[in-house]
């Protein structure tokens, strides 16, 4: 299941908004559809691949004239574990401004982004954000932007392979 929620708080010309994106193996999506979301950054607005032309009805998010956006917070399910008893997505969020990712490797190459462990959602006593304040990211007017979510661990798990020793029995006549 993929779910998008939008929360809005309006104060005159200022609106505080939030997206709550959920992907869940609850039987409403096929295994194939779920695994399409793994190991690649996906837009949380459209679930499209970055740069995908799929679905012309889902253009990239953009600010129009006389709009200005400040990113206030990002977070995702924390954890790196991929054990059979405690699965976590190893997820990370990134911001795409025009053609540039906000979080990059030191050499400028693409990085997965802000991990759920660094900025967990939902937060709890044991899971707190590692930032004192969120980095300043502004989207000026007429700016294309996107928020991508990267899941590193397979959602349904990776099938193991049977490896064992041979055995031969001699059955007499």
């Amino acid at each position: 299941m993929m779910l998008f929620c939008l929360f809005v708080l309006i104060i005159m010309g200022v609106r505080r908004q939030a997206y709550d994106f959920v992907i869940k193996d609850d039987g409403s999506d096929s295994v194939n559809a779920l695994e399409q979301f793994v190991n690649k950054p996906k837009s949380i607005f459209t679930t499209n691949d970055v740069g995908s032309t799929k679905g012309k009805n889902y253009p990239r998010a953009s600010t129009s004239i006389n709009q200005f956006i400040t990113v206030e917070a990002m977070g995702s399910t924390p954890g790196f574990s991929d054990s059979a008893s405690a699965w976590t997505p190893r997820g990370a969020l990134n911001l795409l401004v025009e053609n540039t990712y906000f979080y990059n490797q030191p050499d400028g190459t693409w990085a997965e982004g802000l991990t759920g462990t660094a900025s967990p959602y939902p937060q709890s006593v044991q899971r707190q954000r590692s930032y004192n304040s969120f980095p300043r990211v502004y989207f000026d007017e007429n700016t294309n932007y996107d928020v991508t979510y990267y899941i590193g661990n397979s959602i349904v798990g990776i099938p193991d392979v049977f490896i064992a020793d041979p055995f031969t029995q001699v059955v007499p006549a």
Partner: protein, 708 residues
């Protein structure tokens, strides 16, 4: 390692529901006149992908009022039952059932000894469009039914315990009806008395008794069944039996072979309970003449240190048995066989103890839907449920070196598994509490899930002496289990069991059955009883139940993104703040606004008048600019240029006309418009006036001269 693919929950559970309102129970009461309430007991199901129908087999307890087609009243006893779900197989609580009790398959008098229930215990769906021998059949089911051995004629003696007065039963099931295909009781079918010896190999006057499993050979369009046989002459002995069809020959019938015979005073009959099939050569190519069957069962329930049997069987229809030599190899006879497969592999190779050797093989499932191709051998041992994973089965005549060609010969044979692992300890460690370590608990079925590439494994209580006992000391309820197992059997998960998500976990055992090519990996879960425990006082807990369910993991990943959108003038201020190097926040934005107001930049009415004037001016400029760029000009009238083909030299003509007008002294003015006409009139008028004035002047001059 990364999380192996497993399912941890089931969802979309559709079930026949509980006693007494479930669809199956309601159908039994409506369609079976002699039905004893609450006694229907389903043992197996098979889903036909082509018709989207489900076939369920089992039995029920007749109240003694049933009448067979011969008009005889049937005594109270178990009656084999076929049920076909013709509509809503996957939403089975709303299923439309067509139930067909097999009245004619049983003797009207319940015989003694009677340790085995009359029932159909296994059903398979035939692949669509493959079979010519069973063109009209959709399913084939096997089991056994109450009979009177002594009445069959000379040479047949009454049964002696622990054997049961049962005779094999094969039923072909069609979407439009059911045929009693093979029965020793029904006059129009072919009785097992007429079955021949496979390949001419003597069966030593044994007579077929039980059937426990069936497989279909797509390459040969034949079937192989396994079960148990007993001596015609009576006695407590018995033998495992392998039956194969001989269709397409001179006489379409069955033949059988016996193995693992036991005498003395066993606690239960020697029975082959399970069979699996492969039809490939050593290179992996599918061929018709390399069919191998792996057969498992129990040879005796009293012998300690191993009574599980394992045989390698090559059907006569695949490779003709030469000169009465059977193509069968007893890998483990089960009779404390010191050189048998279990001893060699489980004890000597894998480090197990004598109590780890299987006391019975309950099922050998060849699971390949999950992308692996593994024989999952399941059974019981004194230490608890038994399991082996094996793949790459091949065989060849023993030699130096042995050439593996998948042909079973009468001489010594090397049987090789490319990969094999004893999994009992892993299984026992992965089972729910209360099942591990009990010698009468076993896994009964294992299926592969195509999409998730994982396995589901289910089981529960088994009877070491009977397939479906009339009564069983081990027939207690609430011992069925369903667990998730990774494809290679490295990880087990009991979440479905522990969370109580099973549609009904109060039955004696659970089996699972796949739904072929289901994109959601849905499968059937069957809860069943082992003995006749609840026949007189049915409760919801002991009811048989069929459910379809979808496996899931419930793994959840969430992402959260929060932002503030500044719109309109606030966006301008936000941008100004950014240019100033001030962090853009609502507080800073409000501060900037307040600061502007404090600087006296308040607006009065004059400002709006000036603003209005400037807007008017700006609008005029814009309109002027638009006009200059042509955007506000009227469009030219469309011209149909094809009408002027005769005037292609129009420009030259016009130029010529202009030249003539310029050179013509009388045509120096426009000639065709009103202004020109007016000017022309004025010129003519002036010319006339000039002429008149000149004449007048001439006249005056003349008059003056005359005066002088």
């Amino acid at each position: 390692m990364a999380t192996p693919s497993l399912f941890k929950k089931i969802t979309d559970v559709q079930k026949t529901s509980a006693y007494s309102t479930g669809s199956l129970e309601v159908a039994c009461r409506a369609q079976i006149g002699d039905y004893t309430n609450g006694t229907v007991n389903i043992q197996d199901v098979a889903y036909d992908e082509t018709s989207s129908m489900l076939c369920a087999v089992g039995n029920y307890f007749s109240d003694g009022t049933a009448v067979n087609t011969g008009g005889d009243t049937i005594a109270a006893q178990y009656i084999p039952l076929v049920g076909v779900v013709t509509v809503n197989a996957l939403t089975i609580q709303d299923a439309t059932w067509v139930l067909t009790p097999q009245f004619d398959s049983v003797n009207i008098v319940l015989q003694t000894p009677n340790s085995e229930q009359s029932a159909l215990v296994k059903v398979i769906a035939l692949p669509s469009g493959v079979s010519t021998n069973w063109t009209n059949e959709t399913w084939l089911a096997v089991g056994h039914a109450n009979t009177d051995m002594a009445t069959k004629g000379p040479g047949f003696n009454a049964m002696i315990a622990p054997n049961s007065n049962q005779t094999p039963l094969i039923v072909s099931v069609r979407t439009a009806g059911t045929t009693l295909y093979e029965s020793s009781m029904e006059a129009n079918s072919r009785p097992s008395w007429a079955w021949t010896d496979t390949g001419g190999v003597s069966t030593s006057n044994f007579n077929p008794m039980l059937l426990g499993d069936i497989v279909y050979s797509p390459e040969n369009d034949q079937i192989v069944c396994v079960g148990s046989s007993v001596p015609d002459s009576g006695g407590a002995g018995s033998a495992g039996m392998i039956v194969e069809s001989d269709f397409g020959g001179a006489f379409d019938t069955f033949s059988f072979y016996i193995g693992s015979s036991v005498g003395g005073s066993p606690n239960g009959p020697c029975t082959f309970r399970t069979v699996s099939i492969q039809e490939t050569d050593v290179a992996g190519a599918t061929v018709a003449n390399r069919t191998l069957c792996l057969v498992g069962g129990v040879s005796n329930s009293a012998t300690i240190n191993g009574t599980g049997s394992l045989w390698l069987y090559q059907p006569d229809f695949s490779n003709a048995w030469p000169g009465g030599q059977p193509r069968v190899k007893p890998m483990a006879t089960g009779l404390s066989d010191v050189s048998g497969f279990w001893r060699e592999f489980v004890q000597n190779t894998s480090g197990g103890t004598a109590n780890d050797v299987p006391t019975m093989i309950t099922a050998i499932d060849k699971v390949s839907d999950d992308g692996e191709d593994i024989y999952v051998m399941m059974g019981t041992s004194f230490n608890g449920p038994f399991m082996i994973f094996a793949s790459g089965l091949s065989c060849g005549a023993t030699g130096a070196p042995t050439v593996f060609d998948n042909e079973v010969v009468a001489a010594g044979v090397d049987v090789k598994f490319d990969e094999i692992e004893w999994k009992s300890l892993a299984l026992q460690g992965g089972l729910p509490a209360g099942i591990t370590g009990i010698s009468t608990r076993a896994a009964l079925t294992c299926i592969g899930l195509t999409q998730r590439k994982t396995k589901a494994i289910a089981g529960g209580i088994v009877d070491l002496s009977n397939i479906l006992p009339v009564s069983s000391s081990t027939g207690a309820t609430a011992n069925g289990f369903l667990i998730s197992m990774s494809r290679a059997g490295l990880v087990f998960n009991t979440d479905v069991q522990d969370n109580g998500e099973l549609p009904q976990n109060t039955a004696a055992f659970i089996i699972v059955s796949e739904i072929p090519n289901n994109e959601d990996d849905k499968f059937f879960i069957i809860n069943s009883r082992l003995g006749g425990v609840a026949f007189t006082s049915p409760t919801s807990g002991s009811m048989t139940n069929i459910a379809s369910a979808q496996p899931i993991t419930n793994h959840t990943a969430k992402a959260y993104f929060e932002y503030i959108l500044y719109d309109g003038v606030d966006a301008l201020i936000a941008k100004k703040l950014q240019q100033l190097g001030v962090r853009v926040t609502i507080t800073n934005l409000e501060w900037y606004k307040q600061d502007i107001l404090k600087q006296g930049l308040d607006l009065d009415a004059d400002f709006f008048r000036e603003w209005s004037s400037s807007q008017v001016g700006e609008n005029e400029k814009r309109e002027k600019l638009a006009e200059n760029y042509g955007s506000s000009r009227l469009q030219k009238r469309a011209v149909r240029t094809e009408l002027f083909d005769d005037y292609n030299n129009r420009e030259e003509i016009l130029a010529e006309m202009d030249r003539f007008r310029q050179e013509d002294p009388t045509e120096d003015t426009p000639y065709s418009d009103e202004v020109a006409d007016t000017q022309e009139e004025k010129k003519i008028e002036k010319s006339l006036d000039d002429k008149i004035r000149i004449e007048n002047l001439v006249d005056e001059e003349t008059d003056n001269q005359n005066k002088t």
